[in-house]
């Protein structure tokens, strides 16, 4: 069952660069895991630590990069990530949202996201929020100026609210919103349409019989 998200208030941390790709979010050596959990300590591994990360290390013993914001004391326990344009570009690896969620992020705010990453977030209880670039600029300024800066993200009302009361609305697709509000399982919902899928399949088999039969016969 996916974790629900309705209203979330949390400490904000910055990821102040454009085109943060999924290799940066979770480097490939950690993709060898066959599990869905435990990626948090390796989130942004190349930026967070000074050594080269390997699967199975005790990350608490590794030298941390003191210049990387997530290592600053003021951003510990952040659960909202403020980011720049095209966040999550690159591969389809769901390990990226798994790592963000495992670290403790529930919401990412950016001017734009890459398509596959955006979609993957909703499957893992993370809300990606698109706000205009000038608003994101202002949020970065406020975040840097105020230690302990928090934001409230209200999914039902589709609003981000700042401590000073200013607020911004955001768009989210209806079906994604419902599923995240309720923590619903996509597969369970889709299987309610099993009859429609079977009906389509029968028609399609009639129309395109060459697409059925599988890959068992040996290649010539």
């Amino acid at each position: 069952m996916m974790q629900k998200l309705t209203v979330h208030e949390g400490l904000v941390a910055p990821m102040d660069r454009a085109n943060v790709d999924t290799d940066l979010i979770i480097p490939k050596q950690f993709l060898k895991s066959i599990k869905r959990t435990g990626f948090g300590p390796n989130l942004f591994d190349n930026l967070r630590y000074l050594d080269e990360g390997e699967p199975g290390q005790d990350c608490s013993q590794r030298p941390v990069n003191p210049d990387f914001p997530l290592n600053f004391p003021r951003y510990q326990d952040a659960s909202i990530l403020l980011a720049r344009e095209n966040f999550g570009c690159g591969s389809s690896r769901e390990h990226a949202p798994w790592a963000l969620a495992d670290y403790g992020f529930r919401c990412i705010i950016a001017p734009s996201f890459a398509d596959i990453f955006y979609n993957n977030c909703f499957k893992n209880g993370i809300l990606p929020v698109v706000l205009p670039a000038d608003v994101v600029d202002a949020l970065f300024a406020a975040l840097y100026a105020n230690e302990g800066y928090t934001l409230t993200v209200d999914l039902r009302a589709q609003r981000v609210v700042a401590p000073d009361g200013s607020e911004w609305s955001f768009d989210v697709d209806g079906y994604r919103k419902e599923r995240l509000l309720e923590g619903l399982d996509d597969i369970g919902i889709t299987l309610k349409s099993a009859d429609a899928i079977r009906a389509y399949e029968a028609r399609w088999r009639e129309q395109s019989p060459w697409l059925f039969g599988g890959f068992d016969r040996p290649a010539s």
Partner: protein, 475 residues
Amino acid sequence: MAGMTLYDKLWHSHLVEERDDGSALIYIDRHLTHEVTSPQAFEGLRLAGRRPWRRDANIAVPDHNVPTDSAERKGGVAGILDPVSRLQVQTLDENCAEFDIVEIPINDVRQGIVHVVGPEQGITLPGVTLVCGDSHTSTHGALAALAHGIGTSEVEHVLATQCLLAQKMKNLQVRVSGRLGEGVTAKDLALAIIGEIGTAGGTGYAIEYAGEAIEALSMEGRMTLCNMSIEAGARIGLIAVDDTTIDYVRGRPYAPTGELWDKAVAAWRDLHSDPGAVFDRVVELRAEDVKPQVTWGTSPEMVAPVDGVVPDPDSMDSPTRAEAARRALEYMGLAAGTPIRDIRPDRVFIGSCTNSRIEDLRAAAAVVRGRRVADSVKQALVVPGSGEVKRQAEAEGLDRIFLDAGMEWREPGCSMCLAMNADKLGPGEHCASTSNRNFEGRQGAGGRTHLVSPAMAAAAAIAGHFIDVRELTEA
């Protein structure tokens, strides 16, 4: 009513159900699986007590972290030295056995990179919907298949329901007039397009490539171009069916035959955008303007023609782009104004789902033939995209050409494109690479990737620095 685009046709022919909330269920004809993004999906099925909806739509092949070294590869799965990689490949074998999914195993001659194997075996056919837990699934759109990458939750969803929960994308047409010049390839065109529209330029769109230059491309060139769509932000890249497509598919192991073939071809002939189809956006390029391309930064949009220079961040219009370029130059160890030709690769990688097909290897071999890799290049890897590509290359003697030049000839797999196996860059090393991503650390922590075509990678290996391949081939 306005005509439909190719993407519109593929979408509508696979629509199972449209919902009031804006979502839709799309039927999936082909689901390709590999070892990296599937274990958690199979685990999900297991925990929920679910079985695959339709076993005959699925096929699996390990590719991402299989070793490419011949000696290590001989031992099969049990011989993989890295225990973590071994477990992942083993897990794919076990899951395929448990869930009754056909798998092309590690040392089968048909094994290879999933996006090379699909079209090569006739698993990918025109008009299908095809998904895979890998963003370069856009490759298959070269055959007018609606194909895109999905996350692991969706891998599980497709296995369990044969459908995807989706939302229709917008239509973007990239029209390329004229013909690409000699020595200029689909890879250069792809990089030039990304340089033009940016790495997020295609976000939210399905791209259809059209125009004279696209029609003139071979199927393999079209695959290279569609493969790179995701680097422009588009999950989907498409090209209409024409004789080149039909000729490519005919006779493939899993392609229909006889009466079914005729029926299929008749249906496939309609897989093009109708006259008058409306695109949300159109981008036009002239093929004649495209020169061999080399990336200089850490995003595929950071690209320049080989006769160009590394740009100056201070001259860039947007502060975000300037900041990104500054950071990229620092990471790459390059100064603004450096001629691209002065960049010297330490390693060369020819391979990946972008550029590891037989035509790619032929193009590289044509440059390398009778020459030697420069002394300053520590390693030049040639990794064929599949066992079939390898066999064909060896039949043509290409392996000898590479070996005689001082290059390494490897077993098929993803290899140094993402460096999940032992093939990787050391910190600070520059690489002339035919892969698709020049992200920080992609090919190894601290590694510096320059994306190029196979001919350009081969030329850089010989010259020891980037050079317009036409200077070597026209001499």
